[in-house]
Amino acid sequence: MVHFTAEEKAAITSVWGKVNVEETGGEALGRLLVVYPWTQRFFDSFGNLSSASAILGNPKVKAHGKKVLTSLGEAVKNLDNLKVTFSKLSELHCDKLHVDPENFRLLGNVLVVVLAIHFGKEFTPEVHAAWQKLVTGVASALAHKYH
């Protein structure tokens, strides 16, 4: 189980407090679909994904990105309890959505890049490392119920 130090928790919550969930969620999901186009396989119903600008401007992408990042907010509030927090979502992603957990790792890394874009120098190696740990923990928790 992943364990966060007091410093890591502080780094995570301090960044989270300044994140615009709607904007950042849309951007992270959008970039996932641009940088790793094969991830579009899960979003046939989303309409126009034909170019980077189409993807980033797509209202369904933005809405879904917001949903995903709101869920990450639950992780931030439950850092010591990720597996339990994501238990139902894990079952959903396996049984209903059929998403390969590798996609959680890809999205986690894209989110880290988006945070770096927004926070610039403030996203120091130490803050970055805390967030890598978080996205790894969330990816792992989301994969935990797979069978």
Binding site: G30, R31, V112, F119, P125
Partner: protein, 142 residues
């Protein structure tokens, strides 16, 4: 995976902006790699890995120079990286998984310095470029 004309344009544009800081950016990427992915430090047990280490800085310069060379020869990455490819295969033998980790941290470094200018298109092209470089560097492993 092939680098399109647009990818090459994007990579050159980003690297032009990096300018003379390729070494500094690579050093920062190394630091981020060691910090986020402690297992990567196993390859540098003989280094002083503390913040500001001269050894890490020198190593960052080496990586920066190699990447600058690669950017200048995107039509022949196997050719320009041949010696480094041999080195990684026969002497360094860094496990292939680590190239993804350093590449990711290079992207994070570029993102933190260039902000919104690091557009989704540039992000995608750089990711492809670094992936191609990594593939070449591990191509002679077996």
């Amino acid at each position: 995976m092939v680098l399109s004309a647009a990818d090459k344009t994007n990579v050159k544009a980003v690297w032009d902006k990096v300018g003379g800081s390729a070494g500094a950016f690579s050093t920062e990427a190394l630091e981020r790699t060691f910090c986020s992915f402690p297992t990567t430090k196993t390859y540098f047990h003989h280094f002083d890995l503390s913040h500001g280490s001269a050894q890490v800085k020198a190593h960052g310069e080496k990586i920066g120079n190699a990447l600058t060379q690669a950017v200048g020869h995107m039509d022949d990455l196997p050719g320009i990286l041949s010696k480094l490819s041999d080195l990684h295969a026969h002497k360094l033998r860094v496990d292939p998984v680590n190239f993804k980790l350093l590449s990711h941290c290079l992207l994070v470094t570029l993102a933190s310095h260039f902000g919104k200018e690091f557009s989704p298109e540039k992000h995608a092209s750089l990711d492809k470029f670094l992936s191609s470089v990594s593939t070449v560097l591990t191509s002679k492993y077996r």
